[in-house]
């Protein structure tokens, strides 16, 4: 392992052994519907509360990823997982189902990229051989925690996004083939002073732009070197802003930038700017993107999921929204 700036380079890059995704009924209609391993018709997933459903989705993604990797439970050295709910209950409760150690991470919607970064660092440093990285979210449980009761008849502002119901997980390890995690850039917390909790795209875009540009600098690459620059859940508005912010600094990412939130839903109607939530980047990466990478359609992908690190308390007290983005570079 070596380091330049805030980017870690892995000498013997860990590889993605397997991946799995579970998605809800609304997400099934969209682009990931035919790629996800489990698609739900019922968003309750047979449970009696939405929190339990979220936990079950996450657990299903983890067990499926482990099963597909061909590893036994005792071969897994660590599970790195987190979610959006208070005290990351979905992740810790899902970890009850397994015998391997669990490290809880919280980075809001960028949990997927943070857990891949940490997992790769553990493997790259020789502290683990196999790591599972997973995260998920549920529309109804997030709505209850961050906004209003589901049945409350209020309007959604046009900047708002729709929390994705879904979970995704992948297994990192040592192998001779598969997608490599070559390097990863740790994000800095950026806060430009956006206070509108309905405008997450605008709040998170500076963090994404900052991490992406630092990654270019640290690795001496430019946007054209990547087949895909994938952000997490900026939505349509945030994607436009991140393109403007990077263009302003001399990087033109407009031709290969794709946002998971922007592409996840088929028709953007009541979702307005697109999907959001930890499950957004997790499901899109672990189904659509990695499948296409394995098929050789993308050779080099920069995955920079973004997270808004707010709580209902901080926004209630009038604080602006600090945001973060971690980037990992995946290569075939």
């Amino acid at each position: 392992m070596s380091k330049k700036g805030n980017t870690i380079f892995f000498k013997r890059p860990p590889r993605i052994l397997s991946y799995a995704a579970v998605c809800g009924s609304k997400e099934k209609e969209g682009i990931i519907g035919s790629y996800a391993d489990i698609t739900l018709d019922d968003d309750m997933y047979g449970e009696d509360t939405y929190e339990k459903a979220e936990c079950k989705m996450l657990s299903a993604a983890i067990s499926l990823a482990v099963k597909k990797s061909g590893k036994r439970e005792q071969d897994i050295d660590v599970l790195l997982s987190g979610d959006l709910l208070n005290q990351i209950i979905s992740a810790s409760f899902a970890a009850r189902d397994y015998d391997f150690p669990f490290l809880g991470v919280y980075s809001a919607c960028s949990t997927m990229s943070e857990s891949i970064l940490l997992g790769s660092a553990l493997i790259g440093g020789g502290f683990a051989d196999t790591a599972v990285c997973a995260t998920g979210s549920h529309f109804a449980s997030a709505e209850r925690q961050y906004r209003y009761p589901l049945e409350l008849g209020c309007t959604r502002p046009p900047q708002s996004q729709w929390t994705v119901t879904g979970a995704g997980g992948l297994v990192l390890g040592r192998a001779d083939r598969g997608i490599k995690v070559v390097c990863a850039t740790m994000g800095r917390v950026c806060d430009y002073g956006v206070t509108d909790v309905n405008n997450m795209g605008a709040a998170m875009a500076p963090a994404a732009a900052d991490t992406i540009m630092r990654h270019f600098k640290d690795t001496d690459t430019e946007p054209a070197d990547y087949d895909l620059i994938l952000t997490g859940d900026l939505g349509a508005l945030g994607s436009r802003i991140v393109k403007d912010l990077t263009w302003e600094k001399g990087y033109d990412i407009s031709s290969n930038h794709v946002d998971c939130g922007e592409i996840i839903y088929k028709v953007i109607e009541s979702e307005f700017q697109g999907g959001s939530g930890a499950g957004c980047s997790a499901t899109v990466l672990n189904s659509y993107i990695l499948t296409r990478m394995e098929a050789g359609l993308y050779k080099r992908v920069l995955f920079a999921a973004t997270g808004a690190l707010l709580s209902t308390v901080s926004s209630g007290q009038g604080e602006s929204i600090p945001c973060i983005s971690h980037a990992v570079r995946l290569e075939i």
Binding site: D48, T49, E51, R144, Y148, P149, L150, E151, L152, G153, C154, T155, R156, P157, P158, Q159, D191, Y192, G193, V194, N199, A202, P206, L237, R240, I241, D244, S270, F272, S314, E319, S320, P322
Partner: protein, 149 residues
């Protein structure tokens, strides 16, 4: 908390975001609020006329009409219809008494999973609490003004 205050917000960026924001369709929102809100009031008036034919009058009539509308608001919330109406109608379905019924019923349904006492009953007024507080407060204020006029 340190670091970020209103003084060191990135004003340029906030100005720029404003130019990118999709506009709220005020005219369309007003029109649908007017239409749906008016329709709810018409239904209320219809119920009122029907009840007065049935022989009710005065306070009884007003009370019975409200009770029926509140019941309908609760029923539609429970059936999962009211939030759809609300998403389209905005203030049109929030302002009438049915909207108040919705704001009490929806958290009650939502928090039922946390138990009958600390969940359903305690959190029933998370949304409606503000309406009650300011409703009573403005009632008192108007009452005082009325006393001196």
């Amino acid at each position: 908390m340190t670091g970020k205050t209103r003084e060191n917000y990135n004003r340029n960026y906030l100005e720029y975001v404003k130019t990118q924001d999709p506009p709220t369709k005020h005219l369309k929102n007003c029109a649908s609020a007017f239409g749906v809100g008016g329709l709810i009031c018409c239904i209320g008036q219809f119920i009122r006329y029907s009840l007065s034919f049935a022989g009710l009058s005065g306070d009884e009539l007003a009370g019975a009409t409200s009770v029926i509308l509140i019941f309908l608001g609760c029923l539609l919330t429970g059936l999962g219809v009211y939030d759809r109406i609300g998403r389209y109608a905005g203030a049109g379905s929030i302002v009438p008494i049915t909207g108040f019924a919705n704001s009490v019923t929806s958290p009650a349904i939502e928090f039922k999973t946390e138990g009958w006492i600390y969940g359903m009953a305690a959190k029933m007024f998370t949304v409606a609490g503000a309406i009650i507080v300011f409703g009573v407060f403005s009632g008192v204020l108007v009452g005082i003004l009325y006393l001196f006029l």
